[in-house]
């Protein structure tokens, strides 16, 4: 078989796609890393006044969603259409729940606005940029769910599912750094 033929095979393309996605995530990580650096540069060992219970709930929701995402992807890899659809839908719902918790509730409860000092600016910027990524992930999930229901994915060919899952876990990992940086580390100001 010639090189050109091997290259046009699904399996080879899959490897290429994986590498591309991971490089994109590496790049994106630098953006979030910059936000973290800014947080410690400007706020040092202080943190904004936030609802601790709510923070714990949204964090739990996001972590649990990653579990269902993984379940959905593994199910697809085994050709289990039903569990896959179920997992995708639950992940999607939990993702929306996270968005409501952060943007819909925490942003309203916070006793400060984006223009209140460094903690205001950083809290809204960090949660906002993260929420933006969650939103894109939710849209991705919705597309995967719709195409999944049409039966477009098989155990052998489901790159979109895998990409969606990897992206979703990445968003989750970012939050694992952001949650302590905003909710746990340092003494409360404002």
């Amino acid at each position: 078989m010639s090189t050109a033929d091997i290259r046009s095979e699904y399996k080879y393309k899959l490897g290429t796609n994986r590498l591309g996605l991971w490089l994109f995530l590496v790049s994106d990580a630098f953006f979030f890393g910059g936000l973290l650096v800014s947080r410690f540069y400007l706020m040092g060992y202080t943190r904004p006044h936030l609802e601790q219970t709510l923070g714990l709930i949204v964090t739990a929701v996001l972590l649990v969603s990653s579990f269902f995402m993984n379940r959905a992807e593994t199910a697809m890899a085994h050709g289990d259409q039903k569990t896959f659809l179920q997992g995708t839908l639950i992940t999607l719902v939990l993702g929306v729940g996270f968005l409501i918790g952060v943007v819909g509730v925490e942003w309203q409860l916070a006793p400060f606005g984006p223009n209140d000092g460094a903690h205001g600016a950083l809290f809204y910027m960090m949660t906002g940029m993260h929420a933006f990524h969650v939103l894109t992930g939710v849209i991705f999930l919705a597309i995967v769910y719709r195409n999944g229901r049409k039966g477009l994915y098989t155990a052998e060919k489901h790159w979109a599912v895998e990409a969606c899952a990897t992206y979703w876990h990445f968003i989750d990992v970012v939050w694992i750094f952001f949650y302590p940086a905003l909710y746990l580390i340092g003494t409360v100001v404002g």
């Binding site: 290259r7 591309g20 910059g34 800014s38 400007l42 460094a118 195409n147 477009l152």
Partner: protein, 618 residues
């Protein structure tokens, strides 16, 4: 035949994109005003309305040009083809104005856009250089002067990034024996991001301009006119293009090499491209973040860089230079790779120390991540950071020295010929040496305190850019011209271009350094006649215009020779590189009908019986 076909103007992707951008921007503006009304705010507030509207406009441009079409189809669960069939009702040249997935077309799109921006940025420079030729203000006001120097800087940077895009997109797949880039759609998408964003950057001139220079430091940038926001938004999107483009290059090099093309047998330019791409892929995020933070400070009152609101302006400089210093290596590494690529061809000798050159590109890229604060010695940064950053900066001289050593070693006792590309290559070595040697005084804290923000820096920086990018870029254009167009450029005009630009550049740069040492501050529209810098400035201006004219000659040469030049042989330079073994014009799918195996070392010029690749025609 072909030329006589009627062009349906509106069916050209570029035209459709711009129409979509205008409509999209207006719709976006309306949308922002609607939200403001719903929030109980007055509908019109120039800044949020313009920023929100034009941001939407960027994406509608991309929809208009068709950059999203395949991805929308994927979302709907449809399959798409990796190649776009050209519309048969349009003439051949129309493909350059439409979206194409062919890396060769995209490379040329990048190249032409780069030259257009280069001309624009050069024109800005000529305007303010004319103003500077004599003391006092003659025809510019200070605001316009400031906008022009800022635009000269940023449009040049965009031109350079696009020029690199041109070289790496066109050459990397050909050099490693790939049929295209790993992600052709992403490649087209990354290119087309530049068109709407370049428009935004230029529009800033008509929205009050911006008076910060290209570095856009707050607090000044936090209260500059509206043009500042257009500048931020434009650069933000260009940065996205740079990230996606470099991602594509890295994946292409890792996944698409021909059989036998192991990493240490790739043409050396590929190494430089990868080193550059590693920086663009990661560090660009930080300039994006810093610009986004200033934008949001202006839009939402967030106090990142406002000391009265909990912020710190030095943070901006850290984030900004974390990209913008390595960015300098993004600009020069492909150029230095180009020098290493061309010297062996015109010396008919192996490249001296291939592995060292390859690794030195990586080393420069890596060390480049740890030197950014040398721009901040006078900025009120933490003092204990000064000396470590001084030493890390000095360290860059080591891998750069390796390159010079190899270039001299390659030339040593070679059978050297001097056609235009070789002249520009040698010019690059010489000018980059000037740029390199004038660097350490800026890296040394003690001397930098005196040199910071003077014309010395301007002279030094332009020497690194001309030696590291401009000269090699022109060399590359002349060198691959016969392969791209099938015709030879005019050697006479090419030599004229070189012999005007080379001495003029030395005069310009040395004189800038000279008055810089005497205390001429940079970014000053008006200077005190008592300083006696009038004559020196006049000399610099004349030298600048000479460079400008020489570039016009270059452009004229490109256009004229494409139609009237001699028909070129398929390998006029006797190169060993795979792309020269292909017929001219290069087939649409590159090597699909001409697969090859790598059977030897790439640069064994002059070694009898040595082969690099063995091509088998199907």
């Amino acid at each position: 035949m072909d030329e006589n076909k009627k062009v349906k103007f509106l069916s050209l992707g570029l035209v459709r994109g711009i129409v979509f951008q205008v409509i999209g921007s207006l719709a976006g503006m309306g949308f922002v005003m609607l939200i403001r009304l719903l929030m109980g705010l007055p509908a019109w507030n120039a800044e949020p309305v313009w920023v929100g509207g034009t941001f939407v406009g960027v994406f509608t441009f991309l929809i208009g040009v068709g950059a999203f079409s395949d991805w929308f189809k994927w979302a709907k669960g449809e399959e798409t083809s990796d190649h776009i069939e050209a519309d048969p009702s349009q003439p051949k040249w129309a493909k350059y104005y439409n979206i194409s997935y062919d890396h060769k077309v995209i490379g040329i799109q990048y190249g032409v856009t780069s030259i257009i921006l280069l001309g624009m940025a050069g024109t800005f420079a000529m305007i303010f250089r004319t103003e500077l030729a004599a003391a006092k203000l003659q025809f510019l006001d200070l605001g316009l002067f400031n906008s022009l120097i800022g635009l000269h800087g940023i449009v040049m940077i965009a031109a350079i990034l696009l020029g690199i895009g041109a070289m790496s997109n066109y050459l990397v797949p050909l050099m490693i024996g790939a049929s295209d880039m790993a992600f052709p759609r992403l490649n087209a998408f990354a290119y087309w991001l530049n068109a709407p964003s370049a428009l935004l950057v230029v529009i800033s001139l008509f929205l009050g301009g911006f008076d910060t220079g290209w570095t856009a430091y707050p607090p000044l940038s936090a209260r500059a006119p509206l043009g500042m926001q257009m500048f931020f938004l434009g650069v933000y999107v260009i940065g996205l293009s740079s990230i996606l483009g470099s991602l594509n290059i890295i994946v292409t090099v890792i996944r698409m090499r021909a059989p036998g093309m192991n990493y240490f047998r790739m043409p050396i330019f590929v190494w430089a491209s990868v080193a550059t791409s590693i920086i663009s892929l990661t560090a660009t995020q930080l300039i994006a973040l810093s610009f986004q933070m200033v934008m949001f400070q202006r839009l939402f009152g967030m106090g990142f860089f406002d000391p009265a609101n909990g912020g710190n302006v030095v943070l901006f400089q850290h984030l900004f230079w974390f990209y913008s210093h390595p960015a300098v290596y993004v600009f020069i590494l492909p150029g230095l790779g180009m020098i290493s690529e061309l010297l062996p061809v015109f010396s008919r000798k192996p490249l001296f120390g291939y592995k060292w050159i390859a690794v030195s590109s990586m080393a420069i890229a890596l060390v480049g991540f740890f030197v950014w604060a040398h721009h901040m010695f006078t900025a009120g940064m933490e003092e204990y950071l000064r000396v470590p950053f001084m030493y890390s900066t000095m360290l860059v001289a080591v891998p750069t020295g390796v390159k010079f050593f190899s270039w001299v070693g390659t030339l040593w006792r070679g059978k050297i010929t001097f056609p235009t590309p070789m002249l520009f290559t040698l010019g690059a070595v010489s000018v980059f040496l000037l740029g390199g040697l004038t660097g350490p005084p800026n890296a040394t804290v003690a001397t930098d305190l005196h040199l910071h923000d003077t014309y010395w820096i301007v002279g030094h920086f332009h020497a690194t850019m001309f030696g590291g990018f401009m000269f090699p870029f022109f060399a590359a254009f002349y060198y691959w011209y016969p392969k791209i167009t099938g015709r030879m450029y005019s050697e006479k005009l090419g030599k004229l271009h070189f012999w005007l630009m080379f001495p003029a550049f030395y005069v310009q740069s040395l004189w800038q350094m000279y008055i810089g040492l005497l205390g001429m501050r940079r970014r000053i529209g008006d200077y005190d006649p008592a300083l006696n810098f009038d004559n020196s400035h006049l000399v610099i201006t004349i030298a600048g215009f000479t460079i400008f004219v020489s570039v016009l000659i270059f452009i004229y040469n490109l256009i004229k020779s494409a139609k009237q030049g001699e028909v070129a042989e398929s390998n006029p330079w006797n190169s060993r590189s795979p792309e020269w073994q292909l017929p001219t014009p290069i087939p649409e799918h590159n090597y699909t009908d001409h697969p090859f195996k790598v059977t030897g070392e790439p640069y064994d010029y002059g070694l009898e019986g040595s082969t690099y690749i063995t091509m088998s025609d199907k």
